[in-house]
Each structure stands twice: as C-alpha cells, then as structure tokens.
C-alpha cells in the first residue's frame, strides 16, 4: 500500500507537446463510480413526466388559490396610526413571539444569528455525519446527560425570560421523553426500535423544528392586541 511511486512533475504551457498523462481519482470526494445493481430508467420520459405532473399540479393549486383567495390589502400606510398588534410576515412571527420573552438583542439578533450559524455548521461536525443510533452504547450515562441538559435548558428558558418560554420548553420535554423511550423500554416493538435508531442530531433538529413551528403558530394565530393571548376565531389571523 505505502509503496512509493516516483512521479515526475512537469509543467508546460503547450498542451499539444505535453499532454496530460496522469489522472488522480480521489476517493470519497467524488460521486460513487462503482456500478450499483439498482434499477435505472431513462430520464426522458420517466423523470420528465414526473416533473411535468408535479409542476402542473403545483401551478394549478396556486392558480385556484389566486382565483378564490385575494391577497390582503389594507388601507394606505399611515405612520401615525400603529395597528395593534403590528405583525411581521408569518416566517418572522416566531422571532416576534420570542421578542415577547427576551429583549431584542437576544431574540432579534443573538438567537436568529445562532440558529443560522448552527444550520451552517451542521455538515462540519462528525456527530451529524455519523448519526449513530443514540442508545447503542453507554445507555445509562447518556440518559443522565440528556436529562441534565434538559433540566439546564428548561431552567434557562423558564427563568431567564420576561415570561417562561413554554413554546420552547414543552417541545423540549416532549422530545426528551420520546427520545428516552427506547432507553427505558428497550426492545419493545418496531416503533421503539425505530426511535432507538435515531441519532442525537435527529432529536435536536426535531426539537428546533417543533419549537419553531410552535412559536410561529402562536405568533400567527394566538396573539392579539398588546401581544396578549387570543383565539384566531376571535381576533382573526394577523
């Protein structure tokens, strides 16, 4: 394996006189080159037809929506007249909901910044690449780590904000409980087995996902004048 190969590196501008003779195929960094014995089909028509169906269905749904539901338009912008509540578009309402608990520096700058940073670095951590089944080994120790972390995070989100941040804490508890099931009841049917095969990365992302949805849904539908709780059928959405 570690046989030393003697290469002579020559560089020359004239590609005709010095044709390239060496091709280095790197492992791992290239797509798989080995032939896999899997069913393959011609892109035309198999994929193109599927894409066409997807495109037409999607366009049709949008057109129907556009025919039957009008885009909202209120009166002309008036800087003197602040609506109550003034809401951002739906994809920012999770952040606006956080603003209710933490000062803007934390909820508007620090937390979204951390979320973006966390998303960007996902593929650069081995834990996210290997995604080993969480409960495969060291079950008891891991269980302790998980619940200590849950306790610390719960304490942070319950006591550091202006109000307890239940939209983060309840999903945290729910996810922690479900993820612990395989550790507490090992080998109990297919579902538990499936849960046991999930990785820590999976669970953390799931918490992030459920918490984001919870914050957004609360912000969109359950917040009325003065950012007090309300019901969507009483004060409407937005």
């Amino acid at each position: 394996m570690s046989q030393t190969l003697k290469f002579k590196l020559e560089t020359d501008e004239n590609a005709r006189q010095s044709p390239v003779r060496l091709v280095v195929v790197q492992g791992e960094q290239r797509p798989a080159v080995e032939v896999e014995d899997e069913p393959q089909v011609m892109t035309m028509p198999h994929l193109l037809v599927r894409e066409g169906i997807a495109l037409i269905t999607f366009s049709l749904l949008l057109v129907l929506l556009a025919i039957f539901v009008d885009a909202p338009l209120e009166e002309m912008a008036n800087p003197q007249k602040t609506p109550n509540p003034a809401k951002a578009p739906w994809y920012f309402l999770g952040l606006q909901e956080l603003l209710h608990y933490y000062p803007p520096l934390i909820s508007g700058v620090l937390l979204p910044g951390l979320v973006v940073l966390a998303l960007v670095v996902i593929p650069y951590f081995n834990i996210n690449l290997e995604r080993k089944a969480l409960w495969e080994e060291n079950r008891a120790r891991k269980l302790a780590y998980v619940w200590v972390s849950v306790a610390v995070l719960s304490a942070i989100f319950l006591f550091t904000g202006a109000h307890p941040v239940w939209p983060l804490v309840i999903p945290l508890w729910a996810v922690a409980m479900v993820m612990s099931l395989p550790a507490v009841f090992p080998q109990q049917g297919r579902f538990i087995l499936w849960l046991g095969n999930r990785s820590l990365a999976f669970w953390i992302f799931l918490w992030f996902l459920i918490a984001s949805v919870a914050l957004t849904v609360i912000g969109v539908a359950f917040r009325g004048p003065g950012w007090e709780y309300t019901l969507p059928w009483r004060d409407g959405i937005y």
Binding site: E36, L73, E74, A77, A86, Q96, P104
Partner: protein, 265 residues
C-alpha cells in the same frame, strides 16, 4: 396511433426542426439520451436516473417545486412591474388599479403573493427534508451551506416584496422587522439607516426594497441556485444514502431506509 406518429415524424423530419432540435422522436434510448444532454435546459439531469431517486416520497420534489415557484414569481413579477411605481402614494394607488382597473390585475397580484408564501414554505420544507435524509454529508457539505444562504435570500426576497404594496400591513410589518436592526450592537443604527435610506420606513426605503426585490436579490438567487443545482449534479445527483454500505460499516442505522426496511422484511 399510426397517423399521429406519421404526423409527428412529418413535423420532426425536416431541416428547420432538426436545426433547432438535433434529434428525431424520443423513441429510442439513443434519442432519449440526446433529448437530455443535447438540451441546454435539461442538461442538469443525467441521462439515466436511479429509480429510487425519482420516487415522489423521497424528495417530495421540494427543491424542484421551489424553483417552479420562483419561475412563477419571475413571470408574475415582471407583469406586476409594468403596473407599479415605487413611490408614495403611487405604490398604493397602483394596488388599487391592479384590483379595479388592470385586466386580471388582482389575479396577477394574488398569484404573486401566494407563490411567494409557497416558495418560502417549500424552501423551508426542502431544508428539513434534506436534514432528515442526511444529505449534507461529504462531499455535499458546502452545498448545504449554499442552501442555507438560499433560504435567507428567499426570506429576504419575500420580505422586501412585503413592503411594496405600501398598505398598513406592509408598512408595519417592515417597521417591526427593521426595528430589530436597532438591537444589533454598535452598528445597529447604521445598518438600519443603510437598509431604509433613512431612520424610519419611508419613500427611500420603498425604493431600496424595490431595487433589492426586483434586481439584486433575484440575481443573487439565480446565481446561487445555479451553483446549488450544478453541485447536486456533480456530487452524483439526489442523495440516496449509498446502498454500497458506506453507512452500514460506519455503524449508522439511520437514514438508510432501504436497508432498514429490507432487514425488517
């Protein structure tokens, strides 16, 4: 059948047609291959695809549908630009004109609005799908990063468009958001001023958001999305969790749905 085929052949067997499309009917695998790699728009696809890769339930076509939403947005957006002036109070009056004067103007605006919301949702769902599939694994790490940037650009596109109707919803939605910029330490006020062209949301902000929305951000999105798609193709297409067993040896049981279900069967 025979007649429709002869009609098709009559259309495709002449010098003019062949100068545009350099092949005959896609009735042989050779011509089907040529249909893909001889076509500028389709060459992002390989000529053959793995059957597992094109199953709807693998990707839900979320990336492709995001692109479809963007295409609809470009078309409707260009039409809307014909009727829109980024100035106060003309912008709002143009909304009223779209509703009451312009032929199908309301439909145009509705379609643009709903496609915009759909695109944000689709891009978010695409990211979630890619995460759960583990498709950010090497060599695709950087493509994931590009994807995160594309998500941000998509949200910014939607957000800059949100101000353009210049109604109460637009004005206060953007005011709430840009007030966040104040919270950025040290340079918050400067960032807000740069973004709005003033200290509050006003006509300058409308113009800036308009230019960002119609020129800068779409151009950036097209550029990044092109790189994004190109890299997917260069990395071997849709991530399939390598049935060769790369993951099995590393001890991971996750994501490898096919082997998992095979083992269960």
């Amino acid at each position: 059948m025979a007649t429709s085929r002869s009609i098709l052949e009559a259309i495709t067997r002449n010098r003019v047609y062949r100068s545009i499309v350099r092949r005959g009917l896609a009735d042989t695998n050779r011509n089907r291959s040529l249909a893909i790699f001889g076509n500028f728009f389709l060459h992002i696809h390989p000529v053959k695809v793995n059957l597992r890769a094109i199953a709807f339930t693998r990707t839900f076509y979320l990336g492709g549908l995001s692109a479809a939403a963007f295409f609809i947005l470009v078309v409707t957006g260009i039409f809307l630009m014909f009727y829109y002036h980024p100035s106060v109070p003309r912008a709002f009056e143009d909304m009223k004109d779209l509703e009451f004067v312009v032929y199908m103007g309301l439909f145009l605006r509705n379609l643009h609005r709903w496609a915009a919301h759909a695109m944000v949702a689709l891009v978010l769902l695409h990211m979630v799908r890619v995460f759960f599939a583990g498709a950010y694994r090497p060599p695709r790490e950087f493509n994931w990063v590009i994807g995160v940037v594309l998500l941000l650009v998509t949200i910014l596109l939607s957000y800059t468009g949100y101000l353009l109707p210049w109604d109460q919803l637009a004005y206060w939605g953007v005011t709430v958001g840009t007030n966040m910029a104040d919270a950025v330490p040290f340079v918050g006020e400067q960032i807000k001023f740069l973004l709005l062209g003033g200290n509050s949301v006003n006509e300058n902000a409308l113009l800036r958001f308009y230019v960002l929305h119609c020129v800068v951000l779409p151009a950036l999105l097209v550029l990044l999305a092109s790189v994004h798609i190109w890299r997917v193709r260069k990395d071997g297409g849709i991530y399939l969790g390598s049935p060769g067993g790369e993951e099995k040896t590393s001890g991971s049981k996750e994501d490898d749905i096919s082997t998992e279900s095979k083992a269960a069967d």
